[in-house]
């Protein structure tokens, strides 16, 4: 082995690249960037500005934060509904003015002032909502118009009444308390903001109207098709935003006891920046109140911090603009490319040097040499079937197979022309086995281990095992249960091929070649599932030995067959009985002559074997080429191989033309015939085995003659 190759093997087998992809599959990574920004902002301003975290300084900041975060909450809801509200600043200002006008000039009670505030906000919100929701005008332009209109109105009113407000004698304890008081150490505005945030959060995540908002934001058309009243939902989001802004306006009126030309100035930009920086998507449907709050804290810390560092309004605006631009770019790019990044990063190949193998080329003289015998097989269900991964026959000679539509199809003996859907399970039924009482046990890809009773009752036996300590994605879940077999005591031994890929992506696992396959056992007596062996490269077929004391299981990508001992001195251990085959083994089943049939799902190719020694090349390949172009093992040619109790190869047959049985994933001997299935095939083959016992059946071999 060259130095380069040795370094490659260390680099790719010891560094856990696959964890990056696994972390990216977690939804919380969406929050990671805003959270990081929050921590960085707080930490940097906290360390630059002395006394930044002092209580007195915080008290003033948090009051501001309370008002501001309410506005942001409103903005967040509008954005979740797929809109944008630029008028929050002017609504905020007008609400503030309304309260001031009622309280100081009309000298009415503070509660009436609150009502006036709310009314101003709700009216403006309703106008926005009507125009955007019902008349379906563009949210951006509409709210821009209401923003300009509201701001102009506010400017006129403020200049007209400023002097009157100054001269007013009105006072109120309630107003002072709201403006300056604290309750359990926190100001009223913070309390209100917290309550509003909690209520909104619960409404969005756990109530029908909240879900409607998210659905409308996620996809307007789908929401409409699902029967959601889209227009009304949009309308309500703007009303809610107006409501939030008006409470904010009322609070600032109480705090400042007046309204000035600067009230609510640039608030819309700050609120928008806060929402986007927090990670609320501009496209709608993605985000949360918490994200909005994180953004609010970031933006406010930033602007206040900059002011205290002595930077003017210009700098502040500039920083806000830059933050908005960066956040929008990240948001759009991340949203658009997340799955691409995940696709690119997820496949993390490892190094493997496959052992030299004997040739399977026809006429090569090895026991593996394939011939063309299987092309002579009759076909069953041609064109009706899609994806019979495994096939099995019952005591009455009926034929069963799974399909990629999640069904178990039964073909009736003796001619296997007529068929019916025996049961619908879902997922992708793969390995099949009959237990002693005639229940059909199936490993269902992407779902788990299932049992179908003779009267078609589907029951889940197992969908999880215990989780390993170091896993990032939940490896307790059975991801790709592949084949099963049943011991004489009724325990079901089955394989879960990979922890890394879902059942339909099984072939991708060969590119990565990481050893994550497991052998598990389900005990029907207590319903428990235990992991027996872990760390094989795609565990596949399972077959009880004829004496029931051990079982064979296939390790596909390593081209090996192992024997796992159930009893005797080696109980609980596995040993390799066939290694370095020229094909990738799939299901294994008993043969009538005391040997075993093994399906080959594909053949090793020199170019692919070589690529296993170049994990860096495979990694770049997965990143730079679309999946259709990736180099795969040759799974267009398979075969059926017979081996004996000690792992010696007896014979091999195939369909070299590839017309009828390109890939073989299972075969079952029954009364002198071999029934052949393939996960990517559209038929079951029936091949007459010369010299086979014409009475031998698998149910009898497992459970004795018919009772």
């Amino acid at each position: 082995m060259s130095l380069r190759e040795r370094l490659q093997s260390w680099r790719y087998n010891l560094v856990p690249d696959h964890l990056v992809g696994e972390i990216l599959t977690k939804r919380w990574t969406d929050n990671a960037i805003p959270f990081l920004a929050l921590v960085v902002t707080l930490a940097s301003f906290g360390s630059i500005i002395p006394g930044f975290f002092k209580l007195s300084s915080l008290q003033e900041s948090t009051r501001q934060l309370g008002e501001f975060s309410m506005v942001v909450t409103g903005m967040t809801v509008v954005m979740l509904g797929g809109g944008i509200d630029l008028s929050v600043g002017s609504i905020f200002a007008l609400s503030c003015f309304s309260a001031v006008y009622v309280f100081f000039i009309l000298e009415q009670s503070i509660w009436l002032a609150l009502c006036a505030s709310l009314a101003a906000g709700l009216i403006f919100g309703a106008v926005n909502g009507y125009l955007v929701g019902y008349l379906r005008l563009r949210a951006f332009l509409t709210t821009l118009v209401t923003f300009i209109f509201g701001r102009a109105l506010f400017d006129i009113l403020v200049t007209t009444y400023a002097a009157d407000v100054q001269l007013s004698q009105a006072t109120s304890d309630v107003l002072d308390f709201i403006g300056d008081g604290t309750f359990w150490g926190l100001s009223v505005s913070v309390w209100l903001a917290i309550i509003l945030a909690i209520v909104t959060h619960i409404a969005l995540t756990r109530s029908r109207p909240g879900w409607h908002v998210l659905a409308v934001g996620g996809s307007r058309r789908s929401a409409h098709n699902a029967g959601i009243r889209v227009r009304r939902t949009v309308f309500m989001t703007y009303v809610f935003s107006g409501f939030c802004a008006s409470i904010g306006g009322f609070l600032i009126a109480c705090r400042l006891s007046g309204a000035g030309p600067g009230t609510g100035l640039n608030l819309e930009i700050m609120a928008l920046t806060a929402a986007v920086v927090g990670g609320v998507s501009l496209g709608g449907g993605r985000g949360s109140v918490v994200k909005g709050l994180m953004g609010a804290i970031i933006v406010l810390t930033m602007t206040n911090g900059l002011i205290r560092l002595g930077y003017g309004t210009g700098t502040n605006q500039m920083v806000l603009g830059i933050m908005l631009a960066v956040a929008v770019t990240i948001d759009i790019r991340w949203l658009k490319n997340r799955h691409k990044v995940l696709n690119e990063v997820y496949v993390a190949p490892v190094y493997l040097k496959m052992g030299d193998t004997q040739s399977a080329v026809p006429g090569s003289g090895t026991p593996y040499a394939l011939d063309n015998r299987l092309s002579a097989a009759d076909h069953i269900g041609l064109g009706e079937l899609e994806g019979p991964e495994d096939v099995i026959l019952d005591r009455d000679d009926h034929l069963y197979c799974g399909t990629r539509h999640g069904e178990i199809v039964r073909f009736f003996a003796p001619d296997y022309v007529r068929s019916e859907v025996f049961a619908h399970i879902g997922g992708f039924p793969l390995g099949l086995a009959f237990d002693k009482s005639g229940n059909l046990i199936s490993c269902v890809g992407a779902m788990g281990l299932y049992s179908v009773s003779p009267d078609r009752e589907v029951k889940r036996l197992s969908a999880e095992t215990s989780r390993s300590w170091t896993s990032i994605v939940d490896d307790a879940r059975l991801r790709d249960p592949n084949d099963c077999d049943i011991a004489p005591d009724g325990r079901i031994y089955f394989t879960d091929s990979t922890k890394r890929y879902d059942a339909h992506d099984w072939a991708l696992d060969s590119i990565e070649n990481r050893a994550t396959g497991r052998l598990l056992v389900y005990d029907p007596r207590d319903g428990s599932t235990k992991t027996l062996l872990d760390g094989y490269r795609y565990t596949n077929g399972v077959c009880m030995a004829h004496d029931g004391k051990s079982l064979f299981f296939a390790e596909s990508w390593a081209c090996r067959v192992h024997r796992y001992w159930l009893e005797g001195p080696k109980a609980g251990t596995a040993e390799c009985v066939i290694r370095d085959m020229p094909g990738y083994p799939d299901n294994i089943n008993r043969a009538s002559d005391g040997n075993y049939w093994m399906a080959w799902l594909g053949m090793r190719t020199p170019s692919f074997d070589l690529s296993l020694r170049h994990p860096d090349m495979r990694k770049r390949m997965t990143r730079r080429l679309p999946q259709d172009e990736w180099l795969f093992p040759n799974i267009n040619t398979g075969g059926v191989v017979k081996f004996n109790e000690t792992g010696g190869i007896v014979e091999a047959m195939g369909d070299l033309s590839g017309a009828a049985h390109p890939m073989v994933t299972s075969m079952r001997e029954h009364k002198g015939y071999l029934f052949v299935g393939g996960i990517l095939n559209n038929r079951i083959g029936r091949y007459k085995i010369s010299g086979a016992d014409p009475d031998w059946t698998s149910p009898a071999s497992y459970w004795g003659a018919k009772p």
């Binding site: 380069r4 994806g387 020199p606 770049r620 730079r624 080429l625 172009e629 040759n634 990517l680």
Partner: protein
């Protein structure tokens, strides 16, 4: 994406190839075409008088409708190029690097060892394409996978000696004299280049979707271009992968390389790409493939007009030579072991 140029430094650029579109829009005309003659690996086609000659292995066969190919001549090593001089002398290039004109061996400069194409201009000038200075014509795949660009173009004026017109051509594989100039198909760079007698080069047609092979004149003053194999993104990717490629060249038998091929899916030891997996009995015609059948008609300005295809699921792959004769187009499918005849008059192209 704006960050792509930055990210490309770390992850490399996506590998892309020109799409089969416009004049290259796929069809199944080659697979629909009737077989004119069955012949093992027919390479060059030539019309000599009323006969159609085809080279196959060491022999030249005469083909006629409704009869078996007749061997006209055999040679010491495989025939790699054929041409007919204006005076009717059969000119044959061999794998061994020998050039025979009317049966007599012509002495060649030592640099010529890989005769891939021969063509006579109207004034009697003989153009010769030397594919590579280190590989024989049959080792073309090695030349490609080693990124060879050592081909050269030679000319022999009437009565003179061979003179090197241009070098550093990445496998010149086809010749088409146009006036005093010659059009050369530069295979590994997927382009057609025009050379004048002084060796000045101008690119006529670039970004071809396959590896161009031989050119032959069309009745309307245009030309027929054959592309012997398709471009494939995995192959182009492997060409960028130095270590893997070197190991592959050293350790894997050439037939099973990740490299273009004249035919594919004949052995289970050949590489397979994800898209080429047979699913539900179907081999997708648009799947990536190492071999393909493609003949392109070029107009008088040498721009593509239309094309004939045998797609990934077809069998008439590896077309290296065509010949237009009396309103019929004869197509030699080296990967499909047959010569096809397409009626141009009724073509409906």
């Amino acid at each position: 994406m704006i960050l792509d140029p930055i990210l490309d430094v770390f992850r490399g650029k996506a590998v892309t190839i020109p799409p089969l579109d416009g004049a290259f829009r796929p069809n199944t005309r080659l697979d629909d075409a009737p077989v004119f003659a069955e012949l093992t690996e027919p390479d060059n086609l030539l019309s000599s008088g009323d006969r159609l000659l085809a080279s196959s292995g060491n022999a030249i066969h005469a083909l006629a409708a409704g009869s078996e190919p007749v061997v006209v001549d055999t040679f010491q090593s495989p025939v790699t190029a054929l041409a007919l001089s204006p005076s009717g002398e059969l000119t044959v290039g061999l794998e061994s690097g020998t050039l025979l004109i009317a049966g007599r061996e012509v002495s060649l400069p030592a640099a010529i060892r890989c005769i891939t194409a021969l063509a006579y201009a109207d004034d009697g000038t003989l153009w010769l394409a030397n594919g590579s200075d280190r590989h024989a014509p049959s080792e073309w795949a090695a030349d490609l996978m080693k990124k060879g660009a050592s081909g050269s173009l030679w000319a022999r004026m009437q009565g003179g000696d061979f003179r090197k017109v241009a070098g550093d051509i990445a496998f010149p594989y086809g010749l088409h004299p146009v006036g005093g100039d010659v059009l050369v198909s530069e295979s590994w760079r997927h382009q057609l280049v025009r050379f004048n007698t002084a060796g000045h080069r101008t690119t006529v047609l670039a970004h071809l979707p396959g590896y161009p092979a031989r050119l032959s004149p069309a009745g309307d003053g245009g030309a027929w271009l054959t592309l012997f194999a398709p471009r494939n993104r995995l192959i182009e990717f492997v060409l960028q992968e130095t270590h893997y490629r070197q190991d592959m060249i050293e350790q894997v038998p050439p037939a099973f390389w990740i490299a273009p091929a004249l035919s594919s899916s004949r052995s289970f030891l050949e590489p397979l790409q994800c898209g080429g997996i047979r699913t539900m009995g179907i081999h997708k015609p648009w799947s990536p493939s190492r071999s393909y059948g493609l003949v392109v008609k070029l107009d008088q300005a040498m721009q593509p007009q239309f094309s004939l295809h045998s797609r990934a699921n077809g069998t008439r792959h590896g077309i290296c030579s065509v010949r237009e004769n009396d309103g019929q187009l004869f197509i030699a499918s080296k990967g499909g072991d047959c010569v096809l005849a397409v009626d141009l008059a009724s073509g409906g192209f």
